[in-house]
Subunit: 371 residues, 2 copies
């Protein structure tokens, strides 16, 4: 049987599902799927990098279990979250003659999970899908909660659907093949959960960061705690009409920076979030909402994890403050022209502020970019 | 106030909405929307033909009501239900800086309703939308029930979402500008509701067809009865896991013929449905399920309405029976290789048959094409 270290249940009624965390779930996926979804066919969506490292393991398990599958392999990288690749995946699933009751498997990081999940949601007006996240970021964040989508020239994730997976298999061994920079980027999202409303978790991370990076038991525990946290939020607010927005801590600044750097290797998503979280803490402190030392403590922890924490840490030249402000204004979290930000009263005390004055943001950014 | 002849409520809980039917609702839309959705901005999606005939009326009403709007005008025709046009609409809505709480207005026939509704469902992971159907087909069928989507090279409507509108405004005066061929094509869907489970309605149509085509009060009544019928079915089975499939009467044959004729002017959707319904009755009769005279009565009525009823009525040469069978097999309503068809025991007695033998369909088609 499968070796499962942690199980997190996402109790969403008829859309409920489990997140399983274990040391070799990619090898065991075939047996698990055959038992859980008898009689289905599979469309595997992955990227070239993950295909080399993980696809043979998945395919071996599917074949042992006697499951029928087709594979769609895409270029790696954020640029794959495009209309063209969406069309390619949907047409690939249709060409494979997969039916409404069959399953899409998203094998990869956040890009593949977002793209494949979105493709599943619109193929034949909705196919089921399974997430097999292979990056830390995907395991703790993007594979859970049903947000799927692609990027628009107007901004990140502006096109997509809410579509919950039927199962999430987080294989810890997949993280061993991750580039250290990718692991660190995912770690930014781990830290985020502490910063939102769990100061004890943040402290625990300060004590266990080394073990998490080294791959000790703390790694699986951290992932399970993040998934449980996200599951609670998603259950409360599946479609982000309220409290789910807290998960965007650091993301409004982060998305603007990602857009400005062209969604390129200059700045990974998690790196943008790391800088964004430091900026959110700094801005909150500037507004007199949060103690200044918390901002420093957050930055110090992220820096120890190998993450960028200031605008100056981004290689190359950033766009003007006007350009960054336009990107911020185009973010999804805008209502009637007022800027919505996730601000904080200190570590573990984030809150949603819907009436942020754009001029104060602009002045804060102006100052930060001159440092 | 607005002059409303009929109101049909679609009781879908938090996704409930009204279908209003009246003589000049396009002119009155601005006032209605301002009252019902205060403070929203609007993105109008329409096609070149409808823009000429109806857009000035809509825009005049929006301006009188002080509403802010942007307009996206697309080429007319089934080919507009494509990935490229979907991208154009989504990017147009984003370029107009419409926010999650703003509204998309689909002003047009089935093509525009399907495309704009789908674009709304994926823009910012879901915007609200209003249907203002301007064709008979859209008023009685496609604007109600939340099926949205585009076509794939693999088949019609294979890509899409279930996304309910917030309001449907069916303006009877819009039908006065329809080409007679378009009106007749929509009438095929009207007849469908009688054939499914309402023999009294079919008889009423036989008695009132001339008045419906001439634009008398029977026209509005027919539309209201169709919408009420469809609303009942959609309420019972929103995502088509069961009884909603009955609405596909004539559509499996029809879609295959549409695909074969390239979704072109050679065969309008409603025309394909007309031939498909006659074939479904004929095939049911061949299987010994339905009396042969019903098939003739259906064909006679559709013929009086100016609709094609046989394969020979389609201009040009059809693909081989193999090609047609492949199109039928690729239809969404296939489960585990067995063909699902809507068959019938006679007028008003349609039912879902999930185990249709493909060889019998092939033999039936072979015979019909040689007539």
């Amino acid at each position: 049987m499968a070796s499962i270290d942690h199980t997190v249940h996402v109790a969403l009624g008829e859309r409920a599902y489990d997140i399983l965390i274990g040391p070799k779930l990619i090898d065991e996926a075939g047996a698990l799927l055959a038992e859980k979804f008898p009689g289905r066919r599979y469309g595997i969506v992955t990227d070239e990098t993950v295909a080399k490292a993980q696809l043979p393991r998945l395919v071996a398990g599917l074949e042992t279990a006697g499951l029928s599958y087709d594979t769609i392999v895409l270029p790696a990288g954020e640029a794959t979250k495009s209309y063209a690749m969406l069309e390619r995946v949907v047409e690939g699933l249709l060409a494979a003659k997969l039916e409404r009751g069959d399953l899409v498997i998203a094998l990869g990081g956040g890009v593949i999970g977002d793209l494949a999940g979105f493709a599943a949601s619109i193929t034949r007006r909705g196919m089921d899908f399974v997430q097999i996240p292979t990056s830390l970021l995907a395991q703790v964040d993007s594979s859970v909660g049903g947000k799927t989508g692609i990027n628009s020239p107007h901004g990140k994730n502006l096109v997509g659907a809410f579509h919950q997976p039927k199962l999430v298999l987080a294989d810890l061994s997949a993280l061993d093949t991750l580039a250290p920079r990718q692991f660190a980027a995912g770690y930014a999202e781990v830290v985020k959960y502490g910063l939102i409303d769990d100061p004890d978790f943040f402290e625990w991370l300060e004590a266990n960061r080394a073990e998490i990076f080294a791959g000790g038991p703390a790694r699986g525990e951290a992932i399970a705690r993040c998934c449980a946290h996200k599951a609670r939020v998603v259950i409360e607010d599946e479609k982000e009409t309220g409290v789910r927005a807290l998960l965007n801590l650091g993301h409004t600044f982060g998305h603007a920076l990602e857009k400005d750097t062209g969604y390129s290797d200059r700045l990974l998503h998690g790196e943008g979030v790391a800088i964004g979280m430091v900026l959110a803490h700094g801005f909150s402190s500037r507004l007199g909402l949060a103690p200044g030392q918390d901002s420093g403590r957050v930055a110090a922890h992220l820096k120890l994890a190998g993450l960028p924490t200031t605008l100056a840490d981004i290689p190359g030249t950033l766009g003007s403050t006007d350009v960054l402000m336009a990107a911020i204004a185009q973010d999804k979290k805008v209502t009637r022209g007022a800027l919505t930000f996730i601000l904080t009263r200190g570590i573990g005390q984030a809150f949603i502020e819907k009436n942020v004055d754009p001029e104060k943001v602009r002045a804060f950014l102006e100052e930060k970019r001159s440092i």
